[in-house]
């Protein structure tokens, strides 16, 4: 599942509901990090379908944030 405009916005909308800092890391040859609350950065991350991503959160509601954001990925952004 590639992180195109619509899913990126869904992800960011959800991330912004938490007070915790959210970061998304892309591994591979050139590891890149994005602010999970910025649409622009999430798109520039160029996370095409099948790219392994790591979601990190830091703050009071960090656990809940990571849980819900991961679920969003698992549900394939509610599409299908």
């Amino acid at each position: 599942m590639g992180l195109h405009a619509r899913p990126a916005m869904q992800f960011v909308d959800l991330a912004n509901q938490f007070t915790s800092e959210v970061r998304v890391l892309k591994g591979g040859d050139e590891p890149v990090e994005a602010d999970g609350k910025s649409v622009m950065q999430m798109i520039v991350l160029e996370a095409t379908q099948g790219t392994p991503l790591t979601i990190e959160a830091n703050g009071d509601d960090a656990d809940e944030a990571v849980k819900q954001l991961a679920e969003l990925f698992e549900s394939k952004f509610g599409e299908e």
Binding site: G2, A5, R6, K37, S38, V39, M40, I43, E46
Partner: protein, 579 residues
């Protein structure tokens, strides 16, 4: 400190703070702002982002209603990007770190992202670069639009720096705070030049790239007399120019006290000093400076300001407004004088090879009778509201005058049929600006009520010189004995036939020629409003006898150099500070 040379199109010196209007094509020049302007730029950025989001939401809703959710959703992406706090912070950082304008900072940050999009391997994502450009444009448009808004609500005195002012921009200006203009483009007859002269503020145009060399907030000296702009002047220059500015202000306030004094010579011979205008809004200012009427209302602006030919009601509205402002003072409306200008030439299907000798002015009107009639009908309708007079420009043969009068008679008959009131005794006159008309002034005098000598064109056609052509502009001179002989003869022909004569060209407002024109027997001078006080001062300082002697002597010279030298000496004797 930097000195730039341009064309001085409106005299005077002013020192003030610059405000830069960016070009409409959204090319954002790199400019630095002063540190204390940073909060203002950040505030502007926030307002622009909010405004752009509101615009996009409306657009999204409209598009969704018309074309469905799929297409409307594109704008959700744009809105999402604009709401991105990180992006906003990056632009703010650019403003703070590099002292950039909100426009420049937005442009830099958005283009940085655009490059990242272009570098992507995923084609679908890479295509999104177009959206990034779109978002950038929307943001810039909003920022620049804001600046136009700002211009209407200035809180301090400014000098306006622009590529070339558009009529829409000058219309929006808060004129009470604008103290000067400097533009990249333009010439003596450009819109900026005309507006500056009408406002009586200094202006320098044709500076090339002043917009990229001046930043908002810079201190700037504009010297419209010498065609110079000094950016961030040093102390010596500031002192020198402050002195000069003070002297000018003193001179102006002396002249202002002249306003209510009659324009008459020491021996009590009165003349009429009138103003030339382009739009009715200039009338109040002209009257403040002592204009006893409008001797030349150039109606071209009605055609140039709108992107369509004005209809009868638009003409009427302008004339009615002018007459209301004049409260009984005379208004000479010159019918359409377009044709040789760049606007019509650019629009023309077959540009003329020699437009100044071509289908311009009255010739153009006689080739488009319905258009001509619309204007004449509106003038006649307005005649019941005040002292209106009609003036036909560029008349070169009696036949043209007779044809124009026939069209006017048709209009009068139509008005009678429609039962619309108008004044039957409306005075009709012609511009004398072609040598053939000047030479036949005696014949023309039998068929009109007044003459107005348009010296600019009369000089151009008599001396065969295009003064906008730098290579020959030096040959253009009002003091040429041939030009003076024509003016003298026209004034004489008028006097013999009881036809009043005025001069409405630039010569009428030049103090150098006041003594001469007065001595030749001219009774009406029509000029740019700001020139009135100085001309009046000269008139009030001489006797008719003295002026006549000066004129007699001038007419005995055979070169323009002698004429100018003598007139300069004679005028200095009366007003030592004039030159």
């Amino acid at each position: 400190m930097e000195i730039k040379k341009g064309i001085g199109v409106s005299p005077g010196v002013v020192i003030s703070t610059a405000i830069v209007i960016d070009a409409e094509d959204l090319v954002i020049p790199k400019r630095n702002i002063t540190p204390d302007a940073i909060p203002h730029e950040i505030e502007r950025l926030s307002r622009a982002i909010d405004a752009t989001i509101v615009d996009l939401q409306k657009l999204r809703d409209d598009v969704t209603n018309q074309h469905g959710k799929e297409i409307g959703g594109i704008f959700d992406f744009h809105i999402g990007i604009l709401r991105d706090k990180l992006l906003r912070n990056q632009i703010v950082a650019e403003i703070e770190k590099n002292h950039a304008t909100a426009e420049y900072a937005s442009s830099v940050v958005m283009r940085r992202y655009a490059n990242k999009f272009l570098a992507m391997t995923d084609r679908v994502l890479s295509e999104r670069v177009k959206d990034i450009h779109d978002i950038e444009k929307g943001l810039l448009r909003s920022l620049i639009g804001q600046k136009h808004q700002d211009l209407a609500h200035l809180t301090q005195d400014v000098i306006v720096i622009a590529h070339d002012l558009l009529p829409s921009q000058t219309a929006a200006l808060d004129r009470s705070h604008v103290k000067g203009f400097a533009t990249d483009a333009g010439g003596r007859t450009s819109h900026t030049a005309i507006v500056a002269r009408a406002m009586g503020i200094p202006a320098v145009v044709g500076l090339g790239n002043i917009t990229s060399e001046v930043s908002g907030g810079d201190q700037v000296i504009i010297d419209g007399t010498r065609g110079m702009v000094i950016v961030n002047p040093d102390e010596d220059q500031l002192t020198e120019h402050r002195e000069y500015e003070k002297k000018q202000l003193q001179l102006e306030s002396d002249l202002a006290t002249l306003r209510d004094l009659p324009a008459q010579t020491l021996d009590g011979h009165a003349v009429s000093l009138q103003a030339n205008i382009e739009f009715p809004g200039e009338i109040d200012d002209a009257v403040i400076r002592g204009a006893q009427g409008i001797g030349l209302y150039r109606t071209e602006f009605l055609y140039l300001a709108a992107d369509h030919e004005p209809d009868e009601e638009e003409h009427y509205a302008a004339y009615a407004e002018a007459l209301e402002r004049l409260q009984g003072k005379p208004l000479v409306i010159r019918t359409l004088d377009l044709g040789a200008d760049k606007y019509t030439q650019e629009k023309a299907q077959n540009p003329e090879r020699n437009p100044f000798l071509g289908d311009r002015s009255i010739r153009m009107c006689l080739h488009d009778i319905p258009m001509f009639k619309r204007q004449l009908r509106a003038i006649m309708r307005s005649s019941v509201l005040g002292d209106v007079r009609i003036m036909f420009p560029m008349i070169s043969t009696l036949m043209e005058l007779r044809q124009a009068k026939m069209v006017l008679n048709d209009v009068i008959e139509e008005l009678e049929e429609d039962g619309i009131p108008f004044r039957r005794d409306i005075p009709i006159g012609i511009m004398i600006e072609v040598p053939s008309a000047a030479l036949m002034a005696n014949n023309f005098a039998k068929e009109v009520n007044f003459f107005s000598i348009g010296t600019n064109d009369l000089i151009q056609y008599t001396l065969a010189v295009d003064r906008t052509n730098e290579r020959v502009a030096g040959l253009f001179c009002p003091a040429h004995p041939a030009v003076l002989a024509l003016i003298r003869d026209v004034i004489r022909a008028g006097a013999r036939n009881s036809v009043s004569v005025s001069v409405c060209g630039e010569m009428a407002g030049e103090p150098l020629y006041t003594l001469l024109l007065l001595g030749l027997g001219l009774t009406t001078f029509s000029m740019n409003g700001p020139d009135i006080p100085e001309v009046k001062k000269i008139i009030r300082s001489v006797t008719t006898e003295h002026a006549r002697n000066v004129a007699r002597k001038v007419m005995s010279f055979d070169s323009e150099r002698q004429v100018m030298h003598f007139l300069r000496e004679e005028t200095r004797k009366i007003i030592p500070e004039a030159f």
